[in-house]
């Protein structure tokens, strides 16, 4: 318990340090309302995808297909939005079409989740291989159905999801916070959540405790797929378009954000709160450096360095190196 709290403490400290550094380099403008708002428009996409990655990692699995899932459901949504809008005659905002599209998109995510769940829970392929296979296949399907083209031009209601704000808080942020809240409740307050952590710590012990491992894994990957689709809703709305290869660089970033947030790669440990802190840290670094005009690639390199540093500190902590000194 103490150990977990101390890691949360490190993250909090890291966040403050990063914030101070960014303010020192950019001036107080960094904390201006405008910049905070632009950051909270950018964070949710990666945030939702990281939640999708997190839940798979908690069961000691991984879901490499999240980006491919997200793009495929984005494309399905885009087809519905662009294909049905002119015929429906609704000159208004197209709320119903948008609702239909979003539901279809979420269904795509759930179906992909079921396929992953089947391969992992029933056929017993290791998660990394199963999702590697589905990743390649899904991105292939996306290319085939779009023939590699961009699909764009959505109704107002769809665009509002990603680009408007409600009471000053950007819509994507609201969606992300609700989804993160739901995820936290599922993990901490439901039997499913407890079982997800149990499978991650010791699947055999979990099985002999009378848990239906298959069912838990199935639901885990379905949830992971649905969260990828929610990310797709925000992504296509912000880009006003969908394409087979959007956001490919997000894949490794989600693993990075999850691990930085204290999600154990071996499974069984990690909380939504840590994840949110790590997302904020990463977003502050990328926005801060962006304001300074630093290349995106340097930001990527910095994320890598931070990830290794955090893992090293964590290792030293777990081996009592720092604790013994403090005592």
């Amino acid at each position: 318990m103490l150990r977990k709290n101390s890691y949360f403490g490190i993250l909090l400290l890291a966040m403050v340090v990063v914030m101070v550094l960014m303010v020192l380099m950019n001036g107080i403008d960094f904390l201006s309302l405008r910049n905070l708002k632009s950051m909270s428009f950018q964070l949710p996409e990666l945030g939702l995808l990281t939640l999708a990655m997190m839940i798979a990692m908690l069961t000691s699995g991984i879901n490499l297909s999240i980006i491919a899932t997200s793009n495929l459901s984005g494309i399905v949504m885009a087809f519905i939005l662009t294909g049905l809008v002119p015929d429906s005659g609704a000159a208004g905002s197209g709320i119903w079409i948008t609702l239909l599209a979003v539901l279809a998109g979420l269904a795509v995510g759930a179906i992909v989740g079921m396929v992953n769940g089947y391969l992992i829970a029933v056929v017993e392929i290791s998660p990394i291989l199963a999702t590697l296979g589905t990743m390649i296949m899904l991105s292939g399907i996306s290319v085939v159905i779009t023939e590699g083209y961009v699909i764009s031009g959505f109704p107002q209601a769809m665009l509002a999801i990603g680009n408007k704000a409600f009471l000053g808080i950007p819509n994507p942020m609201i969606i992300f916070l609700i989804c993160a809240g739901i995820m936290a409740v599922i993990l901490n307050r439901t039997p499913l959540g407890t079982r997800i952590y149990m499978i991650g710590s010791n699947p055999t012990a979990c099985f002999y405790s009378g848990v239906n491992n298959r069912q838990v894994l199935f639901r885990t990957y379905i949830l992971s797929g649905i969260y990828s689709s929610i990310a797709a809703v925000i992504m296509i709305s912000r880009f006003n378009s969908a394409k087979a290869d959007y956001g490919e660089s997000y894949l490794l970033q989600t693993v990075l954000a999850a691990v930085l947030g204290g999600i154990s790669a071996a499974g069984g440990f990690g909380k939504v709160s840590g994840l949110i802190l790590s997302l904020i840290i990463m977003q502050m670094i990328s926005s801060g450096l962006n304001l300074l005009g630093v290349s995106n690639f340097l930001t990527i390199a910095l994320w890598g360095i931070i990830l290794i540093l955090v893992m090293v500190v964590k290792y030293l902590l777990e081996n009592g190196f720092i604790k013994r000194r403090a005592a």
Binding site: S126, G148, L252, A301
Partner: protein, 341 residues
Amino acid sequence: MKNLLYRHETYVFLAIIIFVTVVSIINPAFFTLENFFDLLKSASLMGTFAIGMLFVLISGGIDISFTAIATVSGYTIAVLLLRIGDSLNIILVFLIAALIGIALGMINALIIHNFKIPSIITTIATQNIFYGILTVITTGTWLYGFPKWFGDFATIRVFTFYTSEGVPYGLSIVTVIWIALILISWFILKYTVLGRGIYAMGGNTLSAQRTGFNLFGLTLFVYSWMGLMAGIGSVIQALLVQTVAPNSLVGKEMDVIAAVVLGGASMAGGSGSVLGMILGVTMISILGNGMTIMRVPAIWYNVVIGLVIIVSVGASAYRRKIFTRRKVITETTSAGGQRAA
């Protein structure tokens, strides 16, 4: 003979034969010596990376950063070739690329071993670091226009045939390099203490340590070997396309992992063979080539590759599942029998 049925390689081999037969019937141009040498040449790049990946997977790890390592070493030799190309030769080029690869691989090994950070996380981080810093320094410029000798070396053929139209073809020097690397790897894995140590470490780390294997040495070797293959691969890439672009390799790491896994290496470590790796690379290569020859649109490529991977790893996972279940049943019944006696 019965053992063959339990080997993953057998099934991959059968699948390859079936596919080759089908493609050859549809278009006889596929089953020609010319196309065969072409295939070998284009498979050499992925094949070289796959050798390194095979070692890492057998040792129970994974390396995502090798494409970034290859990019760094490829870019370095490209800059050297453009600046002082006339005073270099092909051996020096390979040597420089190899040293850079080994050095970067060692960084991975040191982080993984000393801080017990899972290899997937370490190499995701180092991929970002290597690639990020390289792109910042180079600003993503493409490099081409290498010295004439560098271009000439790439066209060397060990033996040459001519088509009926008089176009020469034959076994490329690039393929020879790949084959040499395969033979060395096969020897290391099969006949040296080092190779058996890599299998032991991947099978059960604790037992390997207690048996007296030097885990640090093994880790260092495995990731340096991956780095070495990345370095050599980067030269092969430069030879094949005569251009070095910072973004041409990063992002392709999953293809290589897929090829090696298709050949039966497991993500859990401790299993995998050079033969399987060759079959996996062959499978992926002839799928691409065969689809082109059958005039299947290129956009279908990923769908087919993805399906093949799922079916292949699914079949082998399913067989393993049935096999272990049968083993558990026979073991418990025989144990029961002994107790009764």
